[in-house]
């Protein structure tokens, strides 16, 4: 019989609808202001630490809603009053100390039965709800020092290649110093280096036992270096924030040496803070041989066991900057590891270094630039002083069995979270200069309440007008289209919530626009039915052909648009990506509702009945 659906199709539609409603539900619950705490190295935090934090808050007279340990190993303390948030963070940070990352957070208040099936609300964007604002300061002194160190390393290599002997080498202030045994060696070295390094001014100093070549970096070069460092860090941080999956973030430069990162609403802010500010990098070096001269040896401790130390060469084979891709996995024993792919230059450097040193040990060194703040008295006032320090620890020391190529893996990490984050950091590129958090604040919505209210109002008016239009133009079938439209809206919200999309005001307008365009499917079908009726087909025949004929148009039109959306999603970043998500979800839900759902309602209400006239 025409226009009847088998029972399973009705059940399928009902099932989709129920699932949609459930996953859209969390959007009805408002979120809490909270403080999120996580371990410094991505390790789990213990209940005892959370209890200590809660007690400290009680002592400071800050009311707590409740505390909880989260799936991902971080702890969450929900506060009664949003105004206490900043104060609460300071209290907790000073109670727990350096081994924890303490961050402001907005926690969702989804009931646990919904949360247990993975339902979560959509996040509101920076324009509607505000979020967390980090101000990062780029450590310029460290950037200059790093550059000098790497230049010094390259110069040592050049001198060795040319067989010019030097006695000593150090980096001091803004200059590199080489000590030579004789004036002759110095002049030879000077003429060699002068051609290669034009950002230095060369001077000589006379020292008791020999001559010293002093190369001071020019002010202009420092300026360029700083500009480069800030821009490079900006790109790296953008990559990291995008890799984190934070949608609709804001990353921009502020002033000569600062970078702003703003993350909207409910996010894993502790992870964001750890990743954004992380300066972790890797170095690969050979272990010192018994005959290595003392001046080329550096002794470093192991990361997991500071008492164990190993003597390594000062010269670096490669650093993490040569990594082209990295991913984490587990070895046979279930221990976390990171798989590394090097770029072309890195691969050949690694190959030539390991080929001639089979049987020697190679160390993988984990480097982190950190800083701790301490309060000092200055002119009778308490001033917060930041002390930067660098942690270098060996994470693995293994014998080179055969020449390594551009692919290998490293082990020796503390936790799966750490291996995942190290892989992310290596992928997104290292920072050109260390950065530290200069300021952390919650930030209010960038749109005024008035603007938000007007935006929401206009969206509602638009929707109501859409519904009325369809009723007037297609009468009974308008009702069907409107029912399909409602289902569409619910499914769209459910899908966006599931994907963790961030809702901005233009995003909301985009959803409404999608709905405006989504009625297109039903319009096409209804117009086709009218046409068939004019061609004197019977009512049932007209409905059947109408749906059938319109289907090719609907599929063709939506597949092409979907292609555009998918490509924009895979290539675009930030706002373009967000838009592509809304667009593609909208296409899928509207094809489903305008074809399946409206057909089901039509079949259910008029299918198989003998009707003379159709109210369309």
């Amino acid at each position: 019989m025409l226009n009847r659906y088998p029972l399973w199709k009705y059940l399928l539609i009902l099932l989709v609808l129920v699932v949609g409603v459930i996953y859209a539900l969390p959007n009805l619950y408002p979120e809490d202001s909270a403080i999120q705490i996580s371990g410094d190295r991505g390790t789990r935090i213990e209940q005892s630490a959370l209890d200590r934090a809660a007690q400290a808050l009680e002592a400071a007279d800050i009311a707590i809603k409740r505390t909880e340990l989260e799936e991902n190993g971080s702890g969450l303390i929900r506060l009664q009053d949003a105004n206490d948030q900043l104060h609460a963070r300071d209290v907790i940070a000073s109670t727990l100390g350096q081994d924890y990352v303490v961050a402001l957070n907005l926690a969702e208040a989804t009931p646990s039965w919904l949360a247990s099936i993975g339902a979560a609300p959509m996040k509101l964007g920076l324009d509607l709800r505000g979020g967390v604002h980090f101000l990062l300061e780029v450590d310029m002194d460290a950037a200059v020092k790093q550059r000098l160190e790497s230049n010094a390393s390259a110069m040592r290599q050049t001198l060795r290649d040319e067989r010019i002997r030097y006695r000593n080498n150090e980096v001091k202030d803004h200059s590199i110093r080489f000590a030579f045994a004789s004036e002759e060696d110095l002049n030879q070295a000077r003429s060699l280096l002068q051609t290669q390094y034009n950002v230095f001014t060369f001077t000589t100093e006379d020292e008791g036992r020999g001559a010293v070549l002093v190369m001071t970096i020019t002010d202009q070069a420092i300026q360029e270096l700083q500009d480069y460092a800030v821009n490079q860090n900006l790109t790296t941080i953008r990559n990291r924030v995008n890799e984190l999956g934070v949608s609709e973030p804001l990353v921009q430069r502020q002033g000569p040496s600062r970078i702003i990162v703003e993350l909207p609403g409910i996010q894993d802010t502790a992870a964001a803070k750890r990743i954004v500010g992380a300066t972790a990098n890797l170095e690969f070096r050979l272990e010192a041989a018994p005959d290595t001269p003392e001046s080329e040896i550096e002794t470093l401790p192991f990361r997991n066991d500071p008492d164990r130390k190993a003597a390594l060469l000062k010269d670096i084979i490669i650093t993490g900057d040569r990594v082209s891709s990295a991913s984490r996995s587990f070895d046979q024993n279930g221990r976390p590891q990171v798989n590394i792919n090097l770029d072309g230059a890195g691969g050949s450097q690694m190959n030539s270094a390991t080929r001639s040193n089979i049987g020697r040990n190679m160390a993988v060194i984990f480097i982190e630039h950190k800083s701790r703040t301490r309060t000092v008295m200055e002119d009778g006032k308490q001033v917060e002083e930041r002390v930067p320090y660098t942690e270098r620890g060996i994470i693995s020391l293994a014998t080179i069995q055969s020449a390594l190529g551009s692919q290998f893996r490293i082990t020796g990490l503390d936790s799966p979270t750490e291996s995942q984050e190290l892989a992310l950091l290596l992928r997104s590129g290292s920072l050109a200069a260390p950065i530290y958090f200069a300021q952390e604040r919650t930030i209010g919505p960038s749109l005024g309440q008035q603007n938000i209210d007007r935006g929401i109002m206009s969206v509602i008016v638009g929707l109501v007008m859409l519904v009325i239009f369809m009723l007037v133009r297609y009468k009974a079938f308008g009702l069907i289209a409107n029912a399909a439209l409602t289902v569409n809206l619910v499914l769209l919200i459910a899908a966006m919530s599931l994907l963790g999309a961030t809702l901005t005001l233009p995003g909301i307008a985009g959803i409404v626009l999608t709905l405006g365009m989504a009625v297109d499917g039903n319009v096409l079908i209804f117009e086709r039915i009218r046409e068939e009726l004019r061609a004197k087909k019977t009512v049932q025949q007209a409905i059947h052909t109408g749906y059938e004929r319109a289907l090719t148009s609907i599929i063709d039109a939506n597949v092409t648009t979907l292609l555009v959306a998918i490509i924009l999603f895979s290539i675009g970043t930030g706002p373009v990506k967000g838009f592509a998500v809304t667009l593609s979800l909208g296409i899928v839900t509207s094809v489903f509702t305008s074809v399946m759902v409206s057909r089901a309602i039509t079949n259910l209400s008029v299918g198989g009945k003998t009707l003379k006239k159709l109210w369309i």
Partner: protein, 301 residues
């Protein structure tokens, strides 16, 4: 069904399209786009009030002092205010803002004024451009595969036409182009493509069913048959957009404007660019019907 002779007026429409496109190119070349805060960066000023101010009053005070393109947010507490302006940074900008912000007799303290860079990085810009080109190429391949390569050409030129003229209008009238407008342009591409394919679909169906070679007549029929649908869909979309445009406030205003222009352009171009171009590049009946099978019963592929 209406019987309007759309194709008969295609020469006039071509002239209109070409003139508009020329103006758009000229305007984009000479005065570029009026890029918003998102793309250009500007100045950020942080001030402190002793008593929490009303944010709407702060905004009004900035507007009254002649600034446009600004955002005002609370920063940490409700007495700290963060102002972002599109103005280029200068030494005096901080004190200017402070004096503009003296409301209710209280002048705020300046905490810091600094320039801020663009929110949209070069990388994003380049990648989006690349993505757009790739998307168009894939669409062309799909249309060529489902229809025929001449249709693909028509669809591409029609899309380019819409985007070019839309950007041209924004450039000519110096309307601010920010990230939300960029999103609107992407939506216009989706809409216009949708519309074009619907018309193409009907043209293909009618060509396969008809026995004449009078393509302009077949095209007219197809466009008239889809006219009710075109008007309904663009009507509903425009209805929503006008609500957003008139009631939505500053943030949505330009977004809605871009889409209104885009929907009108998209509807026009699917008839007079996409369809009419098929006549110019000499679409033949044989392009859609394999030469041997003269008599195809069903229009369905």
């Amino acid at each position: 069904m209406t019987t309007i002779d759309f194709m008969g007026k295609r020469r006039i429409a071509f002239i209109v399209s070409i003139v508009l496109a020329a103006i758009a190119i000229g305007s984009l070349a000479i005065q570029h786009l009026n890029l918003g805060l998102d793309f250009t960066g500007g100045t950020q000023v942080e001030v402190h009030y002793d008593t929490a101010p009303n944010l709407d009053e702060v905004r009004d005070a900035l507007g009254a002092a002649g600034y446009d393109n600004y955002s005002v947010q609370t920063f940490g507490s409700d007495r700290e205010i963060l102002v972002r302006l599109q103005q280029t940074y200068s030494e005096s900008v901080g004190s200017d803002v402070v004096s503009a912000l003296a409301i209710q007799g209280e002048s705020p303290n300046l905490i810091r004024a600094e320039y801020v860079g663009a929110q949209v990085g070069d990388q994003l810009r380049d990648q989006s451009g690349l993505g757009m080109l790739l998307a168009l190429a894939v669409v062309a391949i799909y249309v060529a595969f489902r229809f025929q390569y001449k249709f693909a050409l028509g669809a591409l030129i029609s899309l380019g036409h819409d985007v070019l003229i839309l950007l041209g209008i924004f450039s000519l009238f110096k309307i601010e182009f920010d990230l939300t407008v960029l999103a609107a342009v992407l939506a216009v591409i989706g809409y216009s493509l949708n519309d074009t394919i619907i018309v193409y679909d009907r043209i293909r169906e009618n060509i396969r069913r008809s026995r004449t070679n009078d393509l302009p007549a077949i095209f007219n029929d197809a466009i008239n048959q889809t006219l009710a649908r075109t008007l309904s869909t663009s009507g509903t979309t425009l209805l929503v957009l006008f609500a957003l445009f008139f009631l939505g406030g500053d943030m949505i205003h330009n977004f809605a404007l871009a889409l209104i222009i885009g929907v009108v352009l998209g509807t026009f171009s699917s008839v007079y660019v996409a369809a009419a171009l098929l006549l110019v590049i000499k679409l033949q009946r044989e392009d859609l019907i394999p030469a041997k099978k003269e008599n195809v019963e069903d229009g369905m592929p």
